[in-house]
Symmetry: C2
Subunit: 222 residues, 2 copies
DNA sequence: CCAACGTATAATGTATACATTATGCATTCG
DNA sequence: CGAATGCATAATGTATACATTATACGTTGG
């Protein structure tokens, strides 16, 4: 008989246990179930996740490289604690990365790709009008990721994603007041029109301002 | 009374086997002993390094997160292969990172720190005059790392280090002709004077040009 | 002769057992 | 009574054994 997975891509993800654990732990950290600075004991977590220590430890190594976990030799793992300065520095870096991505995107992005970002933007606006905070937030993140993806620069995309992941937890907590929320919407509008005109100068400025303000939005939550 | 590990750093590195393996493998890859795209079999490597599979596998996870190793589920590890585009994209990103670092460094770096970079620069010049290629190259790298360190932005420093590590192998192969070598020296001179004048504009421009040219220097070696 | 299947082998993935190191508590000495 | 020390406990680090999956090769049927 033919193998279970034939030509048509049925299920690509031959669910790797490693990735599953990494994903699960990442969620636990982002949702705050594992608090900042909290010690991570292997044995109880193994019990909870139903896996043995070996794959769990490998997952912790991965998360440590991602910067979400701190691994001290002979002293185990901790959920990494981010200081106010850490968050600020990450935002400064992300801003620079997205500005670079903006320049590259205006050069290399195809019409179709830009249209997809527009679609995300419109969807986000709909969530905004409906007052759907969670989906608004998620789509917002997706837009930033999508613009970076337009740069067609894999190392840049990876680096950005890693930093974005570290900040997710902070942003998850941050419940911006409605006034800041509205400002962010306006900034996104500016980004969108600049992108569609492929105006690198304007797009870079818009993203720069947007992420500069992002610091104001989250600085009090850290 | 006073803790055993007081201000003076006695012996920080309680030599972690993990870090030792990671370092060793990194060297093997950089020096080309493990070729690009080459399959990494765990068992023989364990024999060679004299360790068991467990810590070796954890080390491979770390290197995978660093981007030096490619890990495919159920199909093992490979030394990651970098295409011409990959190298180009990494240089574009590194350039942007160092430009950012340059701006931050001009704001926050102390006189003493800048003096240390000057010292590195002078030492590099000495190696250049002596025709000591290897130490010249190493010191060159150290200068770039040192300037980024002046930014006082930990995420930036980490990101830069990771990318720098991935490129080390390429640069290790690249034996620039003397004419390009001389040009690099001149560019470094410009960087140094700009840094000492804390002229962010000039430093950014110098670094940008330097890394733009870096692409020309390595593009044929990939 | 070619193609497809099945089996043997070897590699990776996971679990468990063992070794080493850190940590907390009780005890004892100053 | 306080501080230091030693032991018990528990955690991490490492090795090994077992399970699963991929791969290569020989075989067989068309």
């Amino acid at each position: 008989m033919t193998r279970q997975h034939n030509g048509a891509a049925s299920h690509i993800s031959r669910h790797s246990l490693h990735d599953a654990i990494v994903g699960r732990l990442r969620d636990l950290i982002i949702e705050g179930e594992l608090a900042q600075g909290e010690r991570i004991f292997e044995a109880p977590l193994c019990e909870t996740l139903g896996v043995s220590r070996t794959p769990l430890r490998e997952a912790l190594r991965s998360l440590a490289s991602e910067g979400l976990v701190e691994l001290v030799p002979q002293r185990g793992a901790r959920v990494r604690h981010f200081s106010v300065k850490d968050v600020h520095d990450m935002l400064v870096l992300i801003r620079s990365l997205e500005e670079l991505a903006a320049r590259l995107a205006c050069e290399s992005a195809g019409e179709h790709d830009i249209a997809e970002v527009r679609e995300l933007h419109d969807r986000m606006m709909a969530f905004y009008r409906d007052g759907n905070r969670l989906d608004y937030y998620k789509t917002n993140q997706q837009i930033h990721t999508a613009i970076v993806a337009l740069s067609d620069n894999e190392p840049l995309i990876q680096t950005h994603a890693s930093l974005q992941a570290r900040l997710k937890r902070i942003r998850f907590i941050g419940h911006d007041g409605p006034e800041l929320w509205a400002a962010a919407i306006a900034e996104h509008e500016a980004m969108m029109t600049a992108l569609e005109r492929r105006d690198a100068q304007a797009l870079t400025a818009a993203i720069g301002e947007h992420l500069g303000n992002a610091w104001e939005r989250v600085r009090d939550m850290v």
